[in-house]
């Protein structure tokens, strides 16, 4: 799950995969804008065939939190 998510993240922001860690914050560390982040949710829904709750997704700060949340859905 983590590796798949990292691959998707690297399609959105200029960051090398080896620099994405579980404690990396989407906005502050990886440079996501809110539009990048919300657009990525749609791709995650398609990739993992899940339905993401927008409110819960908005509370996610780090890559690790996103992985944990996605794992509860699949």
């Amino acid at each position: 799950m983590f590796e798949k998510l990292v691959k998707i993240i690297c399609d959105y922001v200029e960051v090398e995969p080896e620099n994405v860690h579980r404690d990396s914050r989407f906005m502050e560390d990886l440079g996501f804008t809110s539009f990048d982040y919300m657009s990525m949710l749609g791709e995650l829904e398609d990739t993992f065939d899940v339905e993401i709750d927008q409110q819960q997704a908005a509370d996610i700060r780090t890559v690790g939190e996103a992985v944990s949340y996605l794992e509860t859905l699949v």
Partner: protein
């Protein structure tokens, strides 16, 4: 249906492009879609090398080689030519005043492009009276938006720097315009995502009719009600009979800008959210309505490919907020943020379809609207690592008005690269909104934003009374 033009494959216009043609058709001044800007640097540039860098950037950016053509039925198509062989002009403004130079570039910005089979941009190497050198850039909005324009200029700078300075890498390739265009067209051809987005916006529109809020209060709406003898009317005409426009820019200094940015970072909200909250609270103060709608632009560039493909991708939608005076400033901010997030997920929806659906649901005479203004927040600037490689060199950017607008008032908020402050650029119809009205709006917008960010738990009603 047209399939090829001059040997090149043709493509239909995207929804974003159709939206531009929609309002250009109503505007007697076709230069309404022109975007003019300049970037100048306090350094002696190698003009030949800069010309080569520009030529290379043209080759790398499909959207800079975009052309339009009409078929026999009058439908507009687009195609991309392989090469653009135009000589890059060089204009030396030495001996003129800065104002004269700006005036000339404003004139350049007010010349409409020929629509068919013709280049839709112009790049001029300039030397300013103050010795700064750089580029003047003009593009038609059907082919570029502010973000792709900045991306192109950055590409020129990076190519130039890589050829001039040791250790500066050649920039990564731009992304394919056609690939993103085909994605957009696939979405528009009846995809599930399109249906989902349509359902979202139609539900929003169905909820209830919005109400118009005037920049100086209720007078416009009351006059409209009196004119048609309908006290329940909720929309008003806010544009004038002339599309002549002016650009008034207000500067917020770096220190107060930082305070606003710190608030945004602390509460995990964007500057666009804060600006919307500030603006809608201003209109609430002036009109006494909790219900305020403002048009907002969404750049629709999330993936790296979208960010580097050029073209125009902006979709604009009315953004309706209903925030009672009892709610705190922070609660209002979060309501707006949550709704913005919803918009972001459905932003591919066709804005023209939005307005058509709303007009059917709430029939109004042509020209009446619920939104007094439009807002664009542009976070991207030219200030990045490549500019830093030039050392401690000062540079200036400037936008030039095209002289026409179909809207009463359009606010673009941009970061100033030279000092990290914010520029509030109001493009407005001269006969519809005065400079004095804008000064008043800007003054209270700032007061509301600072009062709110300093006291986020204060009710909106108290903020309105205190400012």
């Amino acid at each position: 249906m047209m399939r090829k033009r001059k040997g090149y494959p043709v493509y239909p216009l995207t929804n974003a492009q159709k939206f531009h043609t929609f309002y250009q058709n109503f505007c007697p001044k076709k230069e309404v879609l022109n975007i003019g800007t300049s970037l100048t640097i306090e350094a002696e540039l190698d003009v030949d090398m800069l010309r080569k860098a520009i030529a290379a950037a043209y080759e790398r950016c499909d959207a800079m080689r975009l052309r339009f053509a009409r078929d026999k039925e009058g439908t507009l198509y687009q195609y991309i030519v392989d090469k653009d062989d135009r000589e890059i002009e060089y204009v030396d403004f030495s001996g003129k005043t800065m104002e004269e130079a700006a005036q000339i570039m404003t004139q350049w910005t007010q010349v409409p492009f020929k629509r068919c089979d013709s280049p839709m941009n112009r790049v001029v190497i300039i030397k300013m009276p103050d010795g700064y050198q750089g580029l003047y850039f003009l593009a038609n909005h059907m082919t570029m938006d502010a973000q792709s324009l900045i991306c192109f200029l950055k590409d020129v700078i990076e190519i130039y720097c890589s050829s001039m300075y040791e250790g500066v890498e050649y920039p990564k390739a731009m992304a394919s315009y056609v690939e993103q265009l085909e994605k957009d067209l696939a979405y528009e051809a009846g995809s599930k995502a399109q249906q989902r987005d349509r359902e979202y916006f139609e539900k929003l529109i169905d909820a209830s009719e919005p109400i118009y809020n005037g920049v100086s209060g209720r007078a416009q709406l009351e006059a409209e009600r009196a004119r048609c003898g309908n006290q329940a009317l909720r929309a008003a005409v806010n544009v004038s009979d002339s599309v002549d426009s002016a650009l008034d820019v207000f500067h917020l200094e770096a220190e107060p800008t930082k305070r606003l940015l710190d608030f945004c970072e602390k509460h995990h909200v964007s500057m666009a959210t804060l600006l919307l909250m500030g603006l809608r609270t201003y209109f609430q103060k002036m009109n006494g309505n909790d219900d305020v709608s403002i048009n907002t632009a969404i750049a629709r560039r999330a993936t790296l490919k979208e960010k580097r493909c050029g073209g125009t991708r902006i979709h604009s939608f009315p953004f309706r907020t209903v925030i009672s005076p009892e709610k705190t400033f922070l609660e209002g901010i979060y309501e707006i943020r949550n709704k913005q997030n919803e918009y972001f997920r459905h932003a591919n929806y066709n804005p023209t379809e939005y307005f058509a659906y709303r007009s059917k649901k709430y029939p109004n005479q042509p020209g009446r609207t619920y939104e007094p203004m439009s807002l664009t927040y542009q976070p991207l600037t030219l200030k990045d690592k490549e500019m830093d490689k030039l050392g401690d060199i000062h540079y200036k950017t400037r936008w030039y008005p095209n002289g026409a607008t179909t809207q009463a008032m359009y606010l673009t908020v941009m970061h100033r690269p030279d000092d990290n402050g914010l520029d509030f650029s109001f493009e407005h119809q001269v006969k519809a909104v005065t400079r004095e009205q804008l000064e008043y709006l800007y003054y209270y917008l700032c007061k509301i934003m600072f009062k709110g960010t300093e006291n986020p738990n204060l009710p909106v009603g108290d903020i309105i009374k205190l400012v």
